[in-house]
Amino acid sequence: MPSVEERVIAVAARVLRLDPSEIKPEHAFTTDLGAESVQSVELVANFEEEFGIEMDEDAALAVQTVGDAVTFIANVCKERGVDV
């Protein structure tokens, strides 16, 4: 099964139309990956669907980097009892 990081990168690549190999944990969604405001909203919705979780939108949108998103989502999954 792919790791949380691989799944986050796969979703980010699909939404932002990037090659997954170009996305690194230290990349910021906006400044490095070019995510616009609407795409940030799409990312949150897609992460929720990918992991079967609901995230607080204010907290989710405060996440800056891919690595932080991996940590944030892993924590939410743990809190919700979702296996990843």
Partner: protein, 427 residues
């Protein structure tokens, strides 16, 4: 006699969502005034108290300056309790006479006249207790009481109501400024330009089919054409608008493009081109350039509107446009489907195609899918900025009210969010 305006959080209230999410039903408009103003005028009441859903009481108390949800209002005088859905033009309740109560088929009180001497035998601890005891002990009225059933009823009745309200206002002539060259078509007695209102050159006021009332401080910019019956509210600005018949606009709106038979509450903007027809728009709405709503289906069949509970209702009319709740914003080029129900505090982004017919409150529509967007905090911040620009404060009471609206509308939104996540993942 004290008039008690009544709006309870039950029954058919949701028929008036999203507009009634943030105001009592009687604050909805038809013609030149609100339903409540018509009820007050019809009953001749000078003493008015209100009972509203608790979550909006604090905001409404500050806005109306009237006693709101105060049980003391239920004592010490003859009471005429009138549901905000009752049509004022049909209110035939004598100010004096024996106590009686009229209810609808679901037992909801439509009106009750309660003589002061009967109050001691009723429970006036709360308005609900009073009405419960009135139902049990007062004679029931057998007559049918005409009521407003849905928001679009107000839109469809607006042209005729505008004519009646113009006559009732009893004003006519130019008390403001009409700069030359402008043209008044039809009878000048069917036009009223209030003091401080300014009609710029190259404006056509076409009163041939109905009266036009331009209220204080309104500005009508060049190349605007207004067809009567129409009401342009205080300090509203029309910017080269093609203002077809049957409009109620303002106060403090900015409106351009084409607008037909629509009601627009205060402080809303539709600055640019785009068509709005048979629509009802709340306060603090911004419709981006080229936002257009359909109000007629290609097969001329009756328009259906999907209510908050997900149920489509046949309006019985071939012409119904959008219902748009307070603080909602649309992006440039938004295309709203026929009879679209767009909730309050929503952010609607264009897809280039007609959007879903039901967009929940607090939704961010992205690629036609409902998302959480930037959440409530961002929406509240925007609302505060928008209101601040017009010197209106966003208070903790507003936030508390909208928090409650968020909860009230959660079920419909959560269903749409679930579908939205699937749609976005598949896109």
């Amino acid at each position: 006699m004290r008039l008690i305006l009544l709006d309870r959080l039950n029954g058919k209230r949701f028929h008036f969502y999203p507009l009634a999410l943030s105001r009592p039903i009687w604050e909805l408009r038809c013609g030149m005034t609100t339903l409540g103003e018509k009820l007050v005028a019809k009953t001749g009441a000078s003493d008015v108290a209100c009972f509203v859903p608790p979550y909006m009481a604090e905001v409404y108390r500050a806005e109306s300056g009237r006693p709101v949800n105060d049980p003391r209002s239920l004592r010490g005088d003859d009471l005429l309790v009138v549901n905000g859905r009752v049509k004022a033009s049909h209110v035939c309740v004598e100010r004096k006479g024996p106590s009686r109560i009229a209810t609808d088929a679901d037992g909801e009180c439509l009106y009750a006249r309660i003589a002061k001497e009967d109050l001691p035998r009723l429970n006036s601890d709360s308005v609900d207790a009073l009405l419960d005891s009135a139902r049990q002990s007062l004679p029931a009225v057998e007559e049918e009481v005409p009521v407003w059933d849905y928001t679009w009823d107000l839109v469809l009745a607006n042209p005729e109501q505008l004519r009646e309200d113009f006559t009732a206002a009893g004003r006519s002539g130019i008390e403001g400024t009409v700069e030359e060259p402008s043209a008044i078509r039809g009878s000048r007695k069917d036009v009223y330009v209030a003091p401080g209102a300014m009609v710029h050159p190259m404006v056509v006021l076409d009163a041939a089919e109905g009266p036009i009332y331009i209220d204080e401080g309104a500005q009508i910019h060049p190349y605007t054409r207004i067809e009567g019956p129409s009401y342009i509210g205080k300090k509203t600005i029309l910017l080269g608008a093609k203002c077809r018949e049957g409009n109620t606009i303002g106060p403090v709106c900015r409106v351009g493009g084409e607008v037909e038979e629509s009601i627009i509450h205060g402080y809303s903007n539709k600055y640019h081109d785009g068509f709005l027809g048979h629509a009802y728009v709340g306060e603090w709405v911004n419709l981006g350039a080229l936002t257009t709503n359909s109000d007629l289906k290609n097969d001329y069949s009756h328009v259906e509107v999907t209510l908050e509970d997900g149920r489509p209702v046949n309006t019985g009319s071939t012409k119904v446009g959008s219902l748009i709740g307070d603080h909602t914003k649309t992006s440039i080029g938004t295309l709203l489907n026929t009879g679209a129900n767009v909730g309050a505090m929503a952010v609607v982004n264009t897809t280039g195609m007609p959007l879903p017919k039901f967009i929940p409150s607090f939704a961010w529509l992205v690629k036609g899918a409902v998302t959480k967007g930037h959440g409530r905090t961002g929406l509240y911040r925007t609302a505060e900025v928008a209101m601040g620009r017009r010197k209106r404060p966003w208070t903790p009471a507003h936030q508390a009210m909208w928090d409650e609206v968020f909860e009230l509308t959660a079920e419909a939104r959560n269903k749409a969010l679930k579908k939205g996540r699937i749609a976005l993942a598949a896109s």
